[in-house]
Each structure stands twice: as C-alpha cells, then as structure tokens.
Symmetry: C2
Subunit: 133 residues, 2 copies
DNA sequence: CCTTGACTTGGAGTCGACTCCAGATGATAC
DNA sequence: GTATCATCTGGAGTCGACTCCAAGTCAAGG
C-alpha cells in the first residue's frame, strides 16, 4: 500500500507518516523497486497504534521510547509495561479533568438555555402587552 | 491577592497569568498603588474557569472569543451557548478516543503482565531442574 | 520523447501555548 | 541610603508536533 492510500485510510497526512518514520516512531517501511514506500499489514498496524496513542495525547517522545523497546525485543517487556502503566495513569488523570470540565460545560449550557427561554418569554409577553401576540 | 499567591494556589505560573491577561483571556486585573496586580474574588473565579477549560484542551482562541462575548453582555447569550455546545461536542469526542486508547492500554498491560508471569514461571522451572528451587 | 503526477529527500517554516529575559520600578530590611 | 525582593513591561525564545517546500527521481500516458 502506497503512502497516499495509507494517508487516506487513516486520516494522517503523507508528510506526517514520513515524519513519524524519520523520527523513529514507525520503523522503516519497505520500498518497492523505485524506492517508494510500500506499507504492509504490520506497518499498517503500527500506524494505527500510533494514531490511537497520539489521539489520546501520549507524547511522541514516550512513544518513540516504547517502539524502540519493542524493537529491542523480549527482555524489555518489564520496561514497556512500566511505560504503558505510567501513560495509562496520566491518561486517566486527563480524562478525569475533562469529565469535570464536561460537567461545568453542561451546567453552563443549561443556564444559557434557561436564559434564552426566559428572554423569549419576555419577548412574547411584551408582544402580548402590545397586542401583537 | 498578588500574582505569586494566585500562581501558587492554582498551579499556574505568574508568567502564564500575565500572558493570559495580555492576550485578553482574562480581563485586566486591578492594580494597587504601586501598579501591582491585586486579584479579587471575580478574578480568581475567572482564573479557575480558564484553568479548568484549558486543562480539558479547549483552545485559547475559542476561550478568548467566549470571554469577549461575556464582556459584551446579555445579547451574546445565544452565541456563547453555541460556542460551549460545540466545545462540549469536541470534548466528548476526545474523551471517546481516550476511552478507546485506555482500553487498548489495559489490554496491552494485561498481556505484558501475563508475559512477565510466564517468564517468571520459566525461571522457576529452570531452577527446579537445576535443583536450586 | 516529453509531460504529468505521485513519490522521494533534507531542511526550513508554522502554530499553539507558553516561558524566559532584560531592564525598570517600588516597597521593605538593614 | 543601599541592597534585596517581588513585581512590572515588551519582546524574544522554546517546545512539541507537525507542515510545507524545493529539487530530484521514476512510471505511465499521449
């Protein structure tokens, strides 16, 4: 699969895909005869994983470290686990903050809704008084 | 309340507090005789609101617009409501992505846990065979 | 054969959000 | 009265994460 298709399929620009590879976030993708990247199944799974992690705000640096450990193989399992646990912890913390913010937004939206309704009622009343309702 | 105390209390640097004021994210704070900022109750509530919104990832630009509308007063209620609804929508979307990522992290952590346990069992077995367990 | 279009590279530019700095001011401590 | 300290300002610098660009290569179409 060529880079444009991957870009299309995952909603990640070709520039970003190449950038991820440059900085070692995705291991080098195989090339066809003309030097053009040809993403295989494994590459695609990696792209998807990175996309997922990035969308949740995991920093690129941490992901590079994690990916590096995966490449280094079996005796890095404990270290990888620790990274994921720490990132999970931070993720949950962020989600908790967002949950709080969501509550406040809901509260405010409800208040504005009330204010709008009140304003509308007042307009109707005014029209009544003027005999236009 | 002086800026250092506010910074301390909310975990926002003085630089950031001044920056927020500069860009209009927080309306100008009153000064004492010597031109030093003196945050009052209302200022503090504004700081807290901004902190909360920022922690959930709402962009500064949007918050500036919102704060501007609040300053402009009553006939901006509908517009403010629309902003909050849109931001709420995006927030929920982000949280959903994060929820998905959380699931994958949990899955991977569990798999690593299993791998670690397996490795430990194998070490124990090897020790048994060598008569060291 | 030449153009078109997708791809390549390394490097530079952008963007959002701070963060830092130099130089000035004013209150307090010695 | 001078040193220390927190504060002030405007402007510059940094950082993470892309995003864009110029110049080059190659396969396919007319």
């Amino acid at each position: 699969m060529k880079i444009a298709e991957v870009s299309e399929q995952y909603g990640i620009s070709s520039d970003t895909l190449r950038y991820y590879e440059r900085i070692g976030l995705i291991p080098p993708v195989n090339r066809d005869g003309g030097g053009i990247r040809d993403y295989n199944e494994l590459d695609l799974r990696r792209v998807e994983f990175i996309k997922c992690m990035r969308s949740a705000g995991l920093p690129i640096e941490v992901l590079i470290e994690y990916v590096g450990l995966v490449q280094r193989g079996d005796n890095t399992i404990e270290a990888r686990k620790e990274i994921l646990i720490e990132q999970r912890r931070q993720l949950v913390a962020r989600m908790k903050e967002m949950q709080k913010t969501l509550g406040i937004l809901d509260h405010k939206i409800a208040a504005y809704e009330k204010a709008v309704l009140k304003a509308e009622r007042e307009i109707l009343q005014a029209q009544d008084l003027m005999g236009q309702g």
